[in-house]
Each structure stands twice: as structure tokens, then as C-alpha cells.
């Protein structure tokens, strides 16, 4: 028995070591040698060297790519096979595409990245800063120029800024909508009925008057609803502030476009106070649904059920068309307020540290970015199975007979792929890219655009502050708490939780970043 115990113990120790050192260590050695090889061979192959030729001198490889969205296993295999046919010739590799639905995407991705599993290219669902800080993704500064020429030639300088951490490029931005604006969406039929001139609202007061009219005319309809508990949408900028380098809205810039803006606690700003007061007043007048902060239905479901008039949301060009579809066909219009804000390159694709071939990963991204056949394969799936043409010349498609967006076997999330502009458009939902470009032209770039906040030194304060945040802020923004009483308590608890440490640290990093970028 003793012997058995010793053996068990020995085995344990050996396995632990290989478990913890082996798996992740591998990735490192590989990438180091790869990057050495890359920098060495860049000169050898020459600047304009034929990539295909270069890859054919290397071993054959199977590229593992992961993206969001549901897809049937069989369809994925077909798409992967079709992709491989193309990449075989161009990159001398096969592609194995995995798609996972939203519910498990983040968990699966984090597990794969933390365990050092084989993965070469992916799009994250959350802020990638954490991946950079923990070394789960690798810098590709040396690779993009050579292996992603099409991407590089079509991007502006500022598009890269979101992808740079500590001076290194980590990601490749997707090409989609590049601007957004705050707005309030509402039912057109009711606006017409009550003569609401939504296009000419000047201020929140005009909106308020309209909501009062709605309340009077339709007492069993909520004038304003939350989106499953969220009044203004969770991501930045959500009532006009900028979370500045992270996404938790604790230490913010009150005016994102003020060159001399200081970082402040969000909860001490006038913007926050005014918004809470307005929402509280509206709530007291019965303009906001009761239990807005614990509501579990999406705003679209509520509008479609005839229970809601409108809701706040961030909007991009063409929002009305999409919203109308999302609201079960009820025509939806919007009043847009606030400053059109530039958000280009907000999401991108990344190469994990454990990737066995970052060069091909970058090259494959470039292929998805520039080759219409590849782009349409990954975005729309297989013709005849997942979509059919309505108008082949103009690239307009629809779902096959008897199928819809949820049952066609390959969910269409065009914005999650490198270049949605190459994709066919779905009948009735055509995107007008010219309009989109014009809108992008009109946007302003926040002064902290491209700044990344390294939160390592204030993690304790952030966890404490986030708990205080959850305790008061969602309810305040839904108007269910009286701001005159609650905001002082909120600020007191935030102080105790250490929000000033976060503000100070962020200000220091922000100043350093500004100084650095003005030098360049």
C-alpha cells in the first residue's frame, strides 16, 4: 500500500508539472521561434514577395478559426471544406472553422486561451485588454504589413489605434460601421396618430412632452421601457460620457471631446445627476415601466407585444430598418441626439499566444477581409442551404424556402466578420454604405480614442466599486431611486470603495499616453 501511495504521489507531481509548465510553455517557444523565422525570412522573400509561394515552402498546416454564432456541425464542415479548397492554393493550409453561440462563446474561448489549446484566430466577445495583460494573445506588429497587405492598404491610421497596446499591434480591426450616436427609438404609427414631430425635437423636454401625450392616449402602454433591465445600453458611451480606456464606467471623461478634460468619478458628474433626476421625474409621472431595472424582456419584445412606445439605444446608420424588423414589423423611427461619435475598429480579430502559425493566421484574416468569395462563405454559409439569391447581380439574398434567420443552420452575424462590406445583403435589410460613410465623416473622435487603461494596480478598488455600482446605478438610471437621497450615499460608498484611486491612476496613465502620442 505504501508503495502505491508513493507512486500516486509521484505521478501527481510529475503530471502537475507537465500540466502547468508544458501546455503553456509550448506556445511560447513556438511563437518565439516563429517570430524569429518571420523577421529573418521577411528580407529573404522580399517586400512584395508572393505569399502563396512563400507558404508553399513551409509545412502544410491546419488553421483553427473561431467565431461567434450558432451553426450546424455539418454546415460548418462544408464551409471549412470550401474554405480549405481556396486556402490550400493560396496559403498551403486547411481551415477548420468553429462557431459557438453567444451563451457559451465566452466560456469556451476563455478555456481555450487559458489552457493553451490549439487556436489560431478568433474574435473576442469582451474587451481584449485582459487577454493582453495575461499574455493570452500575441503582438502581430511585425506580421501585419507583410501578411495582411490588403488590410494595411485600406485602413486609416486611426483605425489601428484601438488595436495597439503598449506600442504593439495586437489585433486586426473589422471593417463595418464606424460611428454611432445616442438615440430614442419609437413607434411611428403612434407618433403619426398623436402628431409627434420626432424629427424636430430640440431637447429631452420635447421628448418628455411627447411621452406624456403617449401616456394619456395609451394608458396601458409604457412610454419608455428598459432593454432587459438596461435603460441606456451597457457599452460606452452610454449617456454621453466616455469610460476612457476600459468599459466599466467608473472613472470617466464627462465630455469625450474636450481636449483638456480631466478624468472624474462618473457619479459626481452633472451629466449623471441630471440624467438620474430626469429619469426619476419621468418614473414618478408614470412614463417609465415599473420594475424597469428588473425587467427580463428585451425592448423589442415589449414593442412587438404592443406594450411599449419607445426605448433608448445607440444607433448607427440604417438603425430604423433593423429596428423595424426587430420589433416584429412595427415601423420604428428615432430621434437622435448627442454627438456622432467615432468608434472605428472597436472590434477586431486576434491571434492567441498558443497559435502554431501566426503568419498564416494573419494572412487568412486578410483573405477574409479582401476576397469576396471567402468573405461570403464565412458570413453567409453555403448557397442553396443557408441562403438563396433574389438578385444575383446586386448580391441580394434571402433565406431558403421555409427557413428563417434562426433555422437556416448558419446564423448570419455579418458584423462579427472581418469585412461585412463584401457580404451579400439580405432582402429588405440592405445597408447603404454610402450613407454610412457620410455618417462616419460627420463623427468626432473622442480625445481618449486609442487609450488603454491598465487596471492591474487598482483591481481591488475596481471590484469594490463595481459592487457599489450594481447596487445603485442601474436602479438610478431606471428612475426607481430618488437621486436626491441616493446619489450622496452612492458617492460616499464609492469614496470608501476607493474610486479616487482609480481616477488618479487613470489620470496619470492618460496624461502619460497623451504626452507620448503628441510626441509622435
Amino acid at each position: 500500500m505504501k508503495l502505491k501511495k508513493c507512486m500516486a504521489l509521484g505521478m501527481t507531481v510529475v503530471t502537475i508539472c507537465s500540466l502547468l509548465a508544458g501546455c503553456t510553455g509550448d506556445g511560447e517557444t513556438k511563437t518565439e521561434t516563429e517570430s524569429v523565422a518571420a523577421s529573418g525570412s521577411t528580407e529573404a522573400a522580399g517586400e512584395s514577395g508572393d505569399l502563396s509561394e512563400y507558404f508553399h515552402t513551409k509545412d502544410h498546416y491546419t488553421l483553427k478559426v473561431m467565431a461567434m454564432g450558432d451553426a450546424d456541425t455539418q454546415i460548418l464542415e462544408e464551409v471549412s471544406a470550401a474554405l480549405s479548397e481556396i486556402t490550400e492554393e493560396k496559403l498551403n493550409c486547411d481551415v477548420e472553422l468553429t462557431r459557438i453561440g453567444f451563451a457559451s462563446y465566452m466560456t469556451q474561448l476563455n478555456l481555450i486561451l487559458s489552457s493553451g489549446d490549439a487556436l489560431d484566430l478568433f474574435i473576442p466577445m469582451a474587451d481584449p485588454s485582459e487577454y493582453v495583460q495575461t499574455g493570452q494573445i500575441q503582438p502581430i506588429t511585425d506580421l501585419v504589413e507583410r501578411f495582411a497587405p490588403n488590410l494595411c492598404s485600406s485602413l486609416e491610421e486611426r483605425d489601428w489605434m484601438s488595436m495597439i497596446y503598449d506600442g504593439d499591434i495586437y489585433g486586426m480591426p473589422v471593417n463595418g460601421e464606424k460611428g454611432q450616436i445616442l438615440g430614442f427609438g419609437m413607434r411611428k404609427d403612434i407618433c403619426d396618430e398623436l402628431g409627434i414631430d420626432y424629427e424636430n425635437f430640440q431637447s429631452m423636454d420635447d421628448l418628455h412632452d411627447a411621452l406624456v401625450k403617449v401616456k394619456e392616449a395609451h394608458p396601458d402602454m409604457y412610454p419608455v421601457v428598459s432593454n432587459a433591465g438596461d435603460m441606456f445600453g451597457g457599452s460606452t458611451p452610454y449617456i454621453g460620457q466616455d469610460s476612457c480606456g476600459d468599459s466599466n464606467n467608473l472613472a470617466v471623461l464627462e465630455d469625450p471631446f474636450d481636449e483638456n478634460g480631466k478624468i472624474v468619478s462618473f457619479f459626481e458628474t452633472d451629466l449623471f445627476k441630471e440624467t438620474c433626476e430626469r429619469m426619476y421625474q419621468w418614473s414618478q409621472e408614470g412614463l417609465i415601466m415599473p420594475d424597469a431595472s428588473t425587467n427580463t424582456d428585451s425592448c423589442n419584445t415589449l414593442v412587438a407585444a404592443g406594450k411599449a412606445f419607445g426605448y433608448f439605444q445607440h444607433m448607427t446608420p440604417g438603425w430604423e430598418i433593423e429596428a423595424t424588423q426587430n420589433n416584429g414589423g412595427i415601423e420604428t423611427v428615432a430621434w437622435k441626439y448627442g454627438v456622432p461619435t467615432y468608434i472605428g475598429g472597436r472590434s477586431g480579430w486576434f491571434v492567441p499566444t498558443a497559435s502554431g502559425d501566426p503568419e498564416r493566421a494573419v494572412a487568412f484574416f486578410d483573405l477574409m477581409y479582401s476576397d469576396p468569395t471567402v468573405a461570403n462563405l464565412v458570413i453567409n454559409g453555403i448557397e442553396g442551404k443557408n441562403y438563396v439569391f433574389v438578385d444575383k447581380e446586386n448580391g441580394v439574398i434571402t433565406f431558403p424556402e421555409g427557413k428563417d434567420a434562426t433555422t437556416n443552420g448558419y446564423s448570419r452575424l455579418e458584423w462579427a466578420w472581418p469585412n461585412e462590406r463584401l457580404s451579400y445583403t439580405v432582402e429588405g435589410l440592405e445597408t447603404n454604405w454610402e450613407e454610412s460613410d457620410q455618417f462616419t465623416e460627420s463623427t468626432q473622435v473622442p480625445v481618449c480614442f486609442g487609450f488603454k487603461f491598465d487596471s492591474t494596480s487598482v483591481m481591488n478598488q475596481i471590484t469594490a466599486c463595481l459592487n457599489v455600482y450594481e447596487k445603485y446605478v442601474p436602479a438610478l438610471l431606471c428612475g426607481s431611486l430618488n437621486p436626491d437621497e441616493t446619489i450622496p450615499i452612492l458617492n460616499e460608498e464609492m469614496e470608501k470603495a476607493g474610486i479616487q484611486d482609480i481616477v488618479k491612476e487613470k489620470q496619470a496613465q492618460f496624461d502619460a499616453w497623451k504626452a507620448e502620442s503628441s510626441e509622435n
Binding site: L19, T73, G306, T316, N326
Partner: protein, 293 residues
């Protein structure tokens, strides 16, 4: 005496019926809501009396009926195989622990119990199972990790065996010349049928309800069990809302309230249908036979 006994029986039944109503009422609410038109549900709230009957929620779930039935099949297979393996491992481990004469019995028990207190977290387990046993995207992924034997079941079985199997019975068998294996199969197991049946039920439910293993170890939809499938439908909206993409996605394609309720019904109903078949093992009498025989 008989009169009195009858009165107490009536009181007992009364208490149980009240409790059962408490258990069933929410479930009824669930079933009724799942058959109610979504718009009516949102406008008028929940009700125990069906208004605006609609099977739209079930149509949504069964839109890919092939996928759903395949998932049901997987669930049944996984539950049966997993439960048998789990119970086998559990009995084999628990019986020696239940023996008062086992050397270092307390140390062994502690080794088992310790796994309930500490765990190394998900990432090391994931590395273990995927990189050394390569279970990702196999049916084993649904059976093996975490569920194949649990300290809870081992300790329950140990306690039960230690209490309900008298030493004299084992001693008698030993004198008859039975080996330890024979004692286990011929004497202990027949006597332990009630606890075995109970644990089979509990383990079976654990396998049936499990979606975590699917969440961690499966990326291919064809291996999904019914709970993985249903849970994905259920969680999509919540996960999306907490991400920065919430504005991009067509929320109306996400499950609404009545669909969520239908999901719960589809997930739970089969177990309720199977359960009565287990109950025949909960009968008295088996023990007496074994002791006397």
C-alpha cells in the same frame, strides 16, 4: 384505535396534499404560460387559467426537430451510461469504506471528502481532460468529467451501508466461505437496493440536468444534449446584453418569456415520466428477506 389511526392518516394526507399543491402550482403556471400567446403574456401577466392558447413557443423549440430529438437521444444515452458507471464506481468505493474493520478507514473517508472541499478550478480540469484524455467533442465529454463519481454519493452510500447492513450478516456470509466480491454482489447489494435506487435517481437527475460539461467540452452542436441546447437558448440573451455587441444583434430572434417556460417544460417533463418506474425499489421487505436468508 382504528378510528384514531384513520384520523392521523387523514391529517398526514392533508399535509402532503398541501405540500404537493405548493410544488405543483408554480409548475402549472409554467405549463400554462408556455402555452399562452407571447403578447398576451406580456400585456396581462401570468395566469393560471389559460388565455389565448398558442403553441408558438413549442414551434420555436421544435423548429429544428431533428436537432431536438437527436439531443434527447444523446441525453438518454448519456444518462443511462453515466448513471450505471457512477453507481458502479460509487458502490465499489463506498462498500469498503462502510466496513468498520477497514484499516485507516477515516483517512480514506477524508480523501474522498476532501474533494468536496477543495477544487483546483476549471482551467486545470479542462487541461487534464482535453489534453491528456482528449475528450473534447466526444460523448465521453458528457459522461466523464466531474459526474462519474462524486464524494456526496460515496459518503451517502457509505453511511447507509454502515448503518443498514448488520455486521452479523457479513460475518455469517464469511463463515459460509463467501469471498469479499461474493459478499458484495450476493449479500450487500440486494440489501442496499433502496439506497442504490435512490442514488440512481439522484445521479440520473444530475446527468439529465447537466449542461456544464457541454458548455466546457463541446464545440460541435451534434453532440449537444437537450439541456445544453435548451440552456444555450436560455442564456443567449443574458450573455449578449452583458457584451458590447448588444446593439448589433436582432433581439427579437431571442427566446421570449413563453419560450423560456416551454424550455423548462421540455427539459423537466421526461424525468417526471420516468421517475415512477424507479419507485418500485423503494419497497420494504427486501431487507428482511436478505437478513433471514
Amino acid at each position: 384505535m382504528v378510528e384514531k389511526s384513520r384520523k392521523t392518516q387523514i391529517i398526514f394526507h392533508f399535509i402532503m396534499i398541501i405540500l404537493c399543491i405548493f410544488c405543483l402550482f408554480p409548475f402549472l403556471l409554467l405549463i400554462v404560460s408556455s402555452f399562452t400567446d407571447e403578447h398576451v403574456l406580456i400585456q396581462e401577466g401570468y395566469s393560471i387559467i389559460p388565455r389565448a392558447f398558442s403553441v408558438a413557443a413549442y414551434e420555436y423549440i421544435f423548429a429544428n426537430s431533428a436537432t431536438i430529438f437527436r439531443a434527447y437521444g444523446t441525453t438518454i444515452g448519456v444518462t443511462v451510461v453515466g448513471t450505471v458507471l457512477n453507481i458502479a464506481l460509487t458502490i465499489l468505493f463506498a462498500y469498503p469504506l462502510s466496513r468498520r474493520d477497514l484499516p485507516h478507514r477515516n483517512i480514506w473517508s477524508f480523501i474522498v471528502f476532501f474533494t468536496m472541499l477543495f477544487n483546483g478550478g476549471l482551467v486545470p480540469s479542462y487541461i487534464m481532460w482535453t489534453q491528456y484524455f482528449h475528450i473534447r467533442n466526444t460523448y465521453a465529454a458528457l459522461i466523464v468529467p466531474s459526474l462519474m463519481m462524486g464524494a456526496f454519493y460515496v459518503i451517502m452510500m457509505r453511511t447507509n451501508l454502515a448503518q443498514n447492513i448488520p455486521e452479523e450478516v457479513l460475518e455469517a456470509a464469511r463463515i459460509d466461505g463467501a469471498s469479499e466480491w461474493q459478499i458484495l454482489f450476493k449479500v450487500v447489494m440486494p440489501m442496499a437496493l433502496p439506497i442504490i435506487a435512490t442514488l440512481m435517481l439522484l445521479v440520473g437527475m444530475a446527468y439529465w440536468n447537466d449542461w456544464m460539461n457541454g458548455l466546457y467540452y463541446l464545440t460541435q452542436k451534434k453532440y449537444y444534449t437537450i439541456q445544453v441546447l435548451l440552456n444555450n437558448m436560455l442564456q443567449d440573451l443574458q450573455v449578449l446584453l452583458s457584451s458590447s455587441f448588444s446593439a448589433n444583434v436582432d433581439m427579437s430572434s431571442m427566446p421570449s418569456t413563453s419560450i423560456k417556460m416551454a424550455i423548462a417544460v421540455v427539459g423537466a417533463l421526461p424525468v417526471l415520466c420516468i421517475y415512477p418506474f424507479f419507485q418500485r425499489y423503494f419497497v420494504k421487505g427486501i431487507t428482511i428477506g436478505a437478513v433471514k436468508g
